[in-house]
């Protein structure tokens, strides 16, 4: 990865067609059916400029269909969409100049080299051959592809292809970027490196809508998460808000002396609505209020004279969230739909 300074130089002069704080993407009542299947069934979304919305859901939940509508590839049956200040249906042609799309399946021409792929995309944005080549060289450098620039993309690794695909989406410096499952199928190292790249883009002011079926990805990249299942947004909020909806956090206290368990349970009872449980010398309870819970617990245990070996809050994961909201685990749903293993 190039240094942040380099990225800043490349991106600083870019025009932003949406002022910070405004909605860069908004959708109201989106509906799209394929035959009898309502793939998207009344989706509402709002993404403020300069932020990342994670559209989280299993395969077949309607994520990709939503993205295809927002990127003008598909006309909705009903609903309204505004992206980068334009109506995504009426101003579709103009909108295409302002958005970048990187797909689930890296859309690069395997028989062209990395440089040829990016140059082609640049020219299709209306750049001259020289401009397109210049922009391709910048992006190849930025995505650590300079060495591979003259090799056909068929010889690229999965991670390199994704980077090339993402680079292609950035050729015209779009203020709004759509990433459809950007890291599906990538190895952990490539995944991390792509995450860092996406974070760099956001730091430079790009608005991102990203779909993912990975909870850790949404947790790490997204300012807000919309959980989507069966074509509907079933929950929306920050990662913390969603976790709060599932219920408070778990406090787990490992005692020095298991004999003191009863004393500890009495001491900690005021922190929770249900009576704490004891499992193998560990006292567990769901705290009513996360803030100050640890300090409160320590003080109460100290006052009661209970010795503590270890003490910690375990936050509910987005897995817990998904399970609670949809009744099925995110990854299970994915496997059911595709019938394939990752």
């Amino acid at each position: 990865m190039p240094s942040r300074a380099e990225e800043t130089v490349l991106e600083r002069t870019e025009p932003r067609s949406v002022a910070a704080g405004e909605a860069a993407i908004s959708a109201r009542g989106l509906v799209k059916s394929f035959g009898d299947v309502r793939a998207v069934d009344g989706v509402d979304l709002e993404v403020r400029a300069g932020t990342v919305l994670g559209l989280l859901g299993p395969n077949g939940a309607g994520k990709t269909t939503t993205v295809r509508m927002l990127t003008t590839l598909l006309k909705p049956d009903a609903g309204e969409m505004r992206v980068a200040g334009l109506d995504a249906v009426k101003d579709a042609a103009k909108l295409r100049e302002r958005i970048g799309l990187a797909g689930q399946y890296a859309a690069v021409d395997e028989n062209l080299t990395g440089a040829e792929n990016l140059t082609m995309v640049g020219r299709l944005y209306g750049m001259s051959r020289a401009q397109a080549k210049q922009r391709a060289a910048e992006l190849l450098a930025r995505f650590s592809l300079t060495e591979a620039a003259k090799r056909p993309a068929r010889g690229y690794s999965g991670g390199m292809r994704r980077r090339l695909d993402l680079a292609a989406a950035l050729v015209a410096r779009p203020p709004v970027l759509f990433l459809d499952e950007p890291t599906t199928g990538l190895d952990p190292r490539s995944r991390l490196s792509l995450w860092e790249t996406i974070e760099g883009l956001v730091a430079d002011g790009t608005t991102v809508l990203l779909t993912t079926q990975y909870l850790d990805e949404a947790d790490r990249l997204a300012d807000k998460i919309a959980v989507i299942d069966h074509g509907r947004v079933i929950a929306e909020g920050t990662s913390d808000e969603l976790k709060d909806r599932v219920g408070g956090e778990r406090l787990e206290v490992t005692l020095d002396d298991p004999e003191q368990a009863e004393t500890a349970v009495d001491a900690l009872a005021p922190l929770t609505d249900e009576r704490p449980v004891v499992e193998a010398g560990v006292v567990k309870l769901t705290v009513r209020e996360r803030r100050g819970a640890i300090v409160d617990a320590v003080e109460r245990l100290k006052a009661a004279g209970v010795g503590v070996d270890d003490l910690g809050l375990r936050r509910p994961t987005l897995d817990d969230v998904f399970l609670t909201l949809t009744g099925h685990a995110a990854e299970d749903g994915a496997d059911e739909e595709t019938g394939e293993s990752r």
């Binding site: 799309l101 399946y105 082609m120 944005y125 209306g126 056909p152």
Partner: protein, 255 residues
């Protein structure tokens, strides 16, 4: 309009640049037709009676027409592959002229078709084919060939956008076009066929274009075939180009 031309050229260039990197396709363009010419001339040639012509003279216009009709196969395979790989989604998300992806594809076919016509013609000349025509007629023949090939590229473009995989494009295209080329005057005189086939062969555009080529290159009686060949080509383009472009607008990646 300027965008349409420049985008079309970019796409045509893309398809030509990638061609030498797919050796299997290059083989299909060059070695395979030559093989067919040699097989037909030396295996069937002695058994087929073509009054008034050496079989090699009779065959070359026919086999070149068959070959050029199949030139558009690259378009069907390529578009189907682009759809499956998500490249069509990428193109459709770009602010480019809508028909350019198809126009660029089919334009690239004209270049590869020219190449394969030349390869076949040189092969023919080596094994004894000769023109009995003026330079103008020979060139008009070339023009008709390229136009007819271009028309078939649009048929194949539509096919490539409709089928689910390059393999399906391959077999469907073959099933549709192969019999058309055989039930025509391309390889044997039509009057040697059973009468039902003769009826079909007479109205088959392949027969018309092959007859036109024999008239332009060998001096055979033209009848209506020369202008008929141009009209057929224009008709095919007029019908299939809009169909293919409209299909492209609605094309969805199958990813």
């Amino acid at each position: 309009m300027r965008r349409l031309v420049s985008d079309t050229l970019v796409i045509a260039e893309r398809n030509l640049v990638r061609l030498p990197r797919s050796p299997d396709l290059l083989l299909a363009f060059t070695v395979q037709p030559v093989m067919f010419v040699l097989l037909f001339v030396y295996v069937f040639g002695g058994a087929i009676n073509t009054p008034g012509y050496d079989y090699v003279d009779f065959l070359i216009p026919g086999i070149i027409v068959q070959n050029i009709a199949f030139g558009g196969f690259v378009t069907a395979l390529g578009l189907s592959e682009d759809l499956n790989k998500g490249l069509i989604d990428r193109f459709r998300s770009l602010p480019m002229a809508r028909p350019a992806v198809l126009a660029g594809r089919t334009a690239a076919d004209v270049v590869t078709n020219t190449l394969s016509v030349l390869v076949l013609l040189v092969t023919g000349l080596i094994i004894g084919f000769s023109f009995h025509a003026s330079v103008g007629e020979v060139l008009l023949g070339f023009l008709l060939l390229l136009l007819f090939g271009y028309a078939f590229s649009w048929i194949f473009a539509l096919l490539g956008l409709m089928v689910s995989s390059p393999e399906a494009a391959n077999s469907l295209g073959f099933i549709a076009v192969f019999p058309l080329t055989f039930i025509s005057s391309a390889f044997v005189p039509v009057d040697s066929m059973p009468s039902a086939l003769q009826w079909f062969a007479d109205v088959n555009p392949f027969t018309i274009v092959v007859d036109a080529m024999r008239s332009l290159w060998l001096g055979a009686p033209a009848g209506n075939s020369v202008w008929g060949g141009f009209v057929w080509s224009a008709l095919i383009i007029a019908v299939f180009a809009p169909l293919a472009v409209s299909r492209y607008r609605r094309a969805a990646g199958r990813a």
